[in-house]
Symmetry: C2
Subunit: 319 residues, 2 copies
Amino acid sequence: MAVYTEVTDDALAAFLEGYDIGRMVAFRGIAEGVENSNYSLRTTEGDFILTLYERRVDPADLPWFLGLMEHLAAKSLPCPLPVRARDGANLNPLAGRIAAITTFLPGVWPRRPTVAHCGPLGAAMARMHLAGEDYAPTRANALGPQGWPPLLARCGDSGDAVRPGLTGEVRAALDATLAAWPGALPRGHIHADLFPDNVFFLDHAISGLIDFYFAATDLYAYDIAVCLNAWCFEPDFSFNITKSRALLRGYQAVRPLSAAETEALPVLCRGAAIRFLLTRLYDWINTPDDALVTRKDPLDYYWRLRFHLQAGSAADYGV
Amino acid sequence: MAVYTEVTDDALAAFLEGYDIGRMVAFRGIAEGVENSNYSLRTTEGDFILTLYERRVDPADLPWFLGLMEHLAAKSLPCPLPVRARDGANLNPLAGRIAAITTFLPGVWPRRPTVAHCGPLGAAMARMHLAGEDYAPTRANALGPQGWPPLLARCGDSGDAVRPGLTGEVRAALDATLAAWPGALPRGHIHADLFPDNVFFLDHAISGLIDFYFAATDLYAYDIAVCLNAWCFEPDFSFNITKSRALLRGYQAVRPLSAAETEALPVLCRGAAIRFLLTRLYDWINTPDDALVTRKDPLDYYWRLRFHLQAGSAADYGV
């Protein structure tokens, strides 16, 4: 469910008058996504996505996100291109929210990722990293390592209700992970949330990378670690090294990893698992029972974390 | 939220092989609707809607619904045309459900219905009634008058928790309404759920009537009564006679009402209000707190019922 804010047809028509993209032809809420309200919008000029930014997104960050998308799209990365209004603005008020129109990208996100998806994913991520190199503004990663201890603190002992002893286990893993965290790896703009539902495929090739609203300036290899968590585990939480190998090969064919980056993979993967475990745990205890969103099980990432904790080296990821 | 059943890209690709509508280009869940799972589907041949029928729909009814839509579309009514697979079937299994592909209709449903919407709505409804006259198969209206007493019984006294005394008030109104129910009015196929979110407008004209999954064979004037309830009350539940007059004029310009139909409007409106009050009440008490659907307030129709109970004649509806 991803329509939190209802847009009236009148408000939309008035909004569109500020743009040079023709008249409204169709307008439907999109069910995917959980952070913002998204609509599929067809005008006499083509197809677009209308996004209304909801409470989780800091309005001050929006120009950075949209600037990054514009920068990447200009370098032919298949990401949504923000459409500018007649006055040049790419962010405008609508229905009490800030809203943006972006181009529509074809393709379908893979509900069941296979090995065949992982190679193209790795290559596209590496191209994204390289294409972002000369986008000068930076954005600190609020959900990066510095953000995890306060997030754990805000969860209190509630993890123990989800699984006895969880809080202590996560705290120990977090302490060890932060102590081993690599500081000097190559940095740049990362997507930080490149899950399958944010990657479109068309005819076995990547046709879209979407949802840049967690993007930040952080370690490139951490972006890979997020993807290893998101794409390379089976439904029973077993790690699929064939997928991991394909993802890493795809990436390195475009941007080879340094020895230090490779070596850091296990700890980066632990960090990524902790990040999603913590945000899911926080949402789990803070989402009202009658909310319209499906709460995601934090334990999905506990089981991933357990794999990463026993992984001895990058060889366990197929490098 | 209207995606209850997740369709994998592989399953969809296999499903589409049975059809002659090209290859998949895009596929997104649609947030609107509450009964079935709907996806917007683009192929190399055009745009379509994929619907997976969920538990509320009796599979035995589906051929009737799709037959009616095909019949109406063939008469140029702007309703979705079911697309037949290569083998001629318009219903096929997908992801453990029965599914259908229909044509995509342009337009936007009016979030805030105005008088300007009501005339075209009435005219389109009348055209629909006339176009359906020679569709021979019939379907009893499970949510028609015969269905209301058992529905009230299944709600028990739970209405009293929503509003003290509600159960008794509704029972009295139901008894009186059924006693006065007109039996001999013109009958045919009615939509029975023609709410604003089932009617698309484009450039001030109706471009789509959708969601025929409550359609049945019943009194034509009852369909009007449903629309008077759905379109002609303001957010504060005051009745807007200007909208009602426009709706009835639009209807009668295409299909004039008999004197008996006109005279029956108040009692038909009471019945329609009771029908939606009861189904909402039933859903209210039977929807788990953690369900993905928004429960609709049954009292919205209590206030409408109160208006209809004091309406003395069709003149109160602007006839």
